[in-house]
């Protein structure tokens, strides 16, 4: 198993290399010079050349890449043009906040999704199944920023139960596990959980229905297992796929939370990306994308290894 994990880790290296190249080129593909955002519009050609030399933009691309990669590997992602703070500091705080939001949303979505999925799969074509299926279809098809705004209108504006924006009191971006912060987490997390809830419910429903139709379920009943005993077998058979889908959903939320983070002004990576794009803050944009992409690669690795560990049918070759 450990050997398999190591082998998979080695396979990840070329992917990581590709990701880094794309992130590096991002700065050079975007129209305009990366310096135009910093320099005054009427800067002289001399000044431009000087600045270019300072930033190393006059060297050939591969050389620039190697220098950049060397810095990245030592944790230097550059400096944000807008705030003047290290990109790494900005990104790691945002990653932490996004991780908290996405993880809590995924956990809520996983539990509700499994609940609905199992009920729907066990009682197929019953009223319960239709209710659970409708909820899960709504979950994947309702626009989430719209749902977010509805939640804000109901719970913040009308009922005044929960705060609508930010991650903590006074707009603080530093997370802490206390009630003042958790209050801020509830609305965005519940809104976001609707996505994994819908996907997981549908997956689990199909899985459970498929497992229940298999011969071994009859064989388990024939050897004297009670419904509860058979249920445990169904759960164990469904677990590898359900957990893999959960992992992929977490990855999806980590990278795709820009709308919800914007609606709730949640100081995470989506929010940061949004700010970086609108301020043309290229180093920040580059750093954020690089970190997010690497996250996704590692998450895929984790999901893969986990699924292999749980499902004996998958070859560990």
């Amino acid at each position: 198993m450990l050997f398999y994990a190591l082998k998979r880790l080695i396979y990840v290296l070329p992917v990581a290399f590709g990701v880094s190249v794309v992130c590096f080129l991002l700065v050079h593909i975007t129209p305009g010079d990366p310096l135009t955002a910093v320099l005054p519009v009427d800067a002289s050609a001399e000044l431009q050349a000087q600045m270019r030399a300072i930033y190393g933009f006059d060297k050939p691309l591969p050389v620039q890449y190697v220098i950049w990669l060397g810095k990245v590997l030592t944790g230097d992602l550059g400096t944000s043009i807008a705030t003047g703070r290290a990109v790494l500091t900005e990104v790691s705080r945002a990653v932490g906040n996004t991780l908290i939001l996405s993880a809590v949303a995924t956990i809520i979505g996983f539990f509700l999704g499994c609940l609905f999925g199992f009920v729907a799969g066990y009682y197929r074509d019953s009223a319960m199944d239709r209710l659970a299926s409708t909820l899960s279809v709504l979950g994947v098809s309702v626009p989430h920023y719209w749902l977010g705004m509805v939640m804000v209108i109901i719970f913040s504006v009308q009922l005044n139960w929960l705060p609508a924006t930010g991650a903590g009191p006074g707009g603080s971006a530093e997370w802490a596990w206390d009630w003042d912060h958790i209050r801020h987490l509830i609305l965005p997390a519940v809104t976001m959980s609707v996505i994994p809830m819908g996907v997981i419910a549908r997956t689990v429903r199909a899985l459970v229905a498929e497992i229940l139709s298999q011969d071994f379920i009859l064989a388990l009943a024939a050897k004297g297992l009670t419904d509860r005993g058979i249920f445990i077998h169904v759960v164990k058979n469904a677990a590898p796929t359900a957990l893999a889908v959960m992992g992929l959903q977490l990855g999806y939320l980590l990278g795709g939370s820009i709308l919800i983070e914007t609606v709730f002004s949640w100081p995470g990576t989506g929010f940061l990306l949004n700010a970086a794009i609108f301020q043309r803050d290229l180093p920040l944009l580059q750093g954020t994308i690089l970190v997010l992409a690497m996250f996704f690669v590692l998450l895929n690795l984790l999901v893969d290894v986990m699924q292999t560990a749980l499902d004996p049918r998958i070859q560990r070759g």
């Binding site: 298999q214 011969d215 071994f216 009859l218 064989a219 388990l220 009943a221 024939a222 050897k223 004297g224 297992l225 009670t226 005993g229 077998h233 164990k236 058979n237 590898p240 499902d311 004996p312 049918r313």
Partner: protein, 328 residues
């Protein structure tokens, strides 16, 4: 039906109808069958004749909402139809257990073979994990699986077809049942492996005094292991008697057709499909003899009225109103 001993399995006028679909499907239409302790009965018949449904009825395995069951089933002194919930679960696997056609599909793919056997033991008996595992190992040795210690922790997909069926037999025998139901246990296996599994079954049956119902398509298999044969057609038993008697003196035209098709076909493994025509639609059964549309001796009365049971000898009877003896 030799002697006066009380039968261990006593099925009377069993009917099973599946009511979930558009039309009710009459899968079993009045099966009456008595089996003595330690007897081996081969249940023979074409695909769809209701063999598996009959076996599942003995374990009360039909989906309750979508099935209507009539008649009575007594197994080892228990009224199976009156059992439900916990009592039914206690009965399954303990008094009667079952092995299936395709062991790869009948074993849970994400549990090791050892875990599945131990689980069965712990379900029915209050024994420790360690003890259950030790018994699982002994069972694997009993069914002669090579290197049983290693197989204990193997998953079903890591074993060969023959080994899986041996493991399935070990699992079925885990709680020392009196009755073993085998639903085409060798159909999915290679010819040489088939013979080994049949020999193993016969040996275990003798050693443990098991009562066995063996479902098969293959008359060769029936001759090999069974004491008695029951031939099923469209949810009814049309003829039953001792193996030798049925082979030598088949009286029902359907049985005669089966035996003739075997004589024409290969010696073993021939499927019972050489009779012209096809079985009736179970959702729309004819009022008279259900074999009449395919029977070359059929008369007008056959189409109108269903035949009653007719004795040939003391333990040989059939459902046909013609005197088929003269016919062929």
């Amino acid at each position: 039906m030799t002697g006066t001993a009380a039968p261990i399995i006593d099925i009377r006028d069993l009917t099973v109808t599946f009511i979930g679909g558009r039309k009710p499907v009459h899968a079993v239409n009045g099966v009456t069958l008595a089996i003595q302790p330690a007897e081996v009965l081969a249940l023979l018949g074409e695909s769809g004749s209701g063999k598996s449904v009959t076996l599942r009825s003995l374990l009360g395995l039909h989906p309750p909402g979508r099935t209507s069951i009539g008649g009575s089933i007594q197994v080892a002194g228990k009224d199976v139809m009156a059992l439900s919930g916990r009592a039914l679960a206690d009965f399954r696997g303990k008094t009667v257990s079952m092995i299936f056609q395709e062991p790869l599909l009948a074993l849970d793919p994400v549990y090791t073979v050892g875990a599945q056997i131990a689980e069965t033991i712990q379900r029915h008996e209050a024994v420790s994990r360690v003890k259950a595992r030790a018994r699982a190992l002994a069972l694997l040795q009993k069914v002669r699986i090579p290197s049983p210690e290693r197989r204990l922790d193997a998953f079903p997909h890591e074993m060969s077809g023959g080994m899986r069926q041996r493991a399935m037999i070990a699992l079925a025998l885990a709680c020392n049942p009196q009755i073993l139901l085998a639903d085409e246990p060798t159909t999915a296996l290679d010819a040489t492996v088939q013979i080994q599994i049949l020999l193993l079954l016969r040996e275990l049956q003798r050693e443990l005094g098991l009562t066995v119902i063996l479902v098969t398509h293959d008359i060769g298999v029936a001759v090999e292991v069974a004491d008695r044969v029951a031939v099923m057609y469209a949810g009814r038993i049309v003829e039953t008697g001792p193996v030798r008697e049925i082979i030598r003196n088949p009286r029902h035209p359907y049985t005669q057709g089966l035996l003739a098709s075997r004589a024409h076909g290969a010696m073993t493994g021939s499927r019972l499909d050489a009779i012209p025509g096809s079985p009736p639609d179970l959702a729309d059964l004819p009022p008279g003899c259900s074999f009449a549309p395919r029977c070359k001796h059929a008369k007008a009365t056959c189409v109108e009225t269903a035949p009653e049971i007719r004795s040939v000898t003391a333990d040989h009877w059939m459902r046909c109103m013609l005197d088929a003896e003269a016919a062929e």
